[in-house]
């Protein structure tokens, strides 16, 4: 544990969001987030940012008829 607990939280925030920490580490982080507004604001921001990136980057519609064109492409290559 770092001397400044907020520095320790900063380095563990991404693994925490990835659910890669041990039970003890999760407990330590959640206790700290419950008490520290500075880290809580940043945690919420990082979590929302991930959701936003994912939503935006998955937001483009898959082209209509993609699977049909895949089938056609594969048949055409087979016949070639």
């Amino acid at each position: 544990m770092s001397i400044d607990p907020c520095i320790g939280i900063e380095s563990k925030l991404q693994p925490y969001l990835d659910r890669q920490l041990t039970g003890d580490e999760v407990t330590m982080i959640e206790q700290h987030l419950g008490q520290c507004g500075y880290c809580r604001d940043r945690y919420h921001f990082e979590a929302r940012l991930r959701d936003t990136v994912k939503t935006v980057c998955c937001g483009d519609p898959v082209p209509e008829g993609l699977i049909d064109r895949v089938r056609l492409h594969c048949r055409g290559q087979r016949g070639a």
């Binding site: 925030l13 990082e46 940012l49 936003t52 990136v53 483009d60």
Partner: protein, 208 residues
């Protein structure tokens, strides 16, 4: 035989004049193959989204997906039933992407990115004063996010795309990329920070 005619690969290439009994080895393999193809096509949306973020254009993404399925259907016997089919397909997709990049002599470079603080973007967006979370996030336009992802060096971007957009685990990403899991974690860390740095730069540019 309708199922075989619907299939797109090797089995369908075989002469079809001789009727096959439903239980023959070839008929069973044809059935397995059709089943494989249908299951594989069920991952087309996920593959397209990964392809789009790797290549940056809709047309390239669709071509990547088509070539991926062509290779997957040709090499379907290489897939081990019960293993992660999406990860197997994503491995092929990534190889197709790298082949294409090599063909066009734009081999992904290992560019360096300054390793900034975890809170670089947050601090950048809030430096004008304390603001509610919504206002901070609303400063990020969808276009800026997509463009910023394109700024991330390819070796880091592909890990961010697989894990944060494609929903693959660290282990899946390690298998797809053929690197140790520690490398995935390190590239993911750097890729996410590079993304935030680029977003900060782009929001500055948009504001000015």
């Amino acid at each position: 035989m309708l199922l075989v005619a619907d299939s797109v690969g090797l089995v369908a290439d075989t002469p079809s004049e001789v009727p096959e009994s439903p239980g023959s080895e070839r008929a069973l393999e044809a059935r397995d193959r059709v089943h494989f193809e249908e299951e594989a096509l069920g991952h087309a949306d996920q593959l397209y989204r990964i392809a789009l973020r790797l290549s940056g254009s809709q047309q390239s993404a669709e071509e990547l997906v088509q070539e991926t399925y062509l290779r997957a259907f040709r090499g379907w016997r290489g897939y081990r039933p019960g293993s992660n089919l999406a990860a197997w397909l994503a491995t092929i997709l990534r190889n197709v992407f790298l082949d294409e990049a090599r063909r066009q002599s734009r081999r992904p470079a290992q560019e360096s990115f300054e390793d900034t603080s975890e809170y670089y973007l947050y601090n950048h967006l809030t430096e004008s004063g304390a603001e509610p979370q919504e206002a901070v996030l609303n400063k990020l336009s969808g276009g800026a996010i997509v463009d910023a992802l394109g700024d991330v060096p390819p070796a880091f971007r592909e890990v961010v795309v697989l894990v944060d957009i494609g929903d693959f685990s660290y282990q899946d990403a390690a298998d797809i990329l053929g690197v140790p899991i520690g490398t995935v974690m390190s590239r993911l860390h750097r890729g996410r920070r590079a993304l935030k740095q680029s977003l900060a730069n782009r929001t500055s540019a948009e504001a000015s």
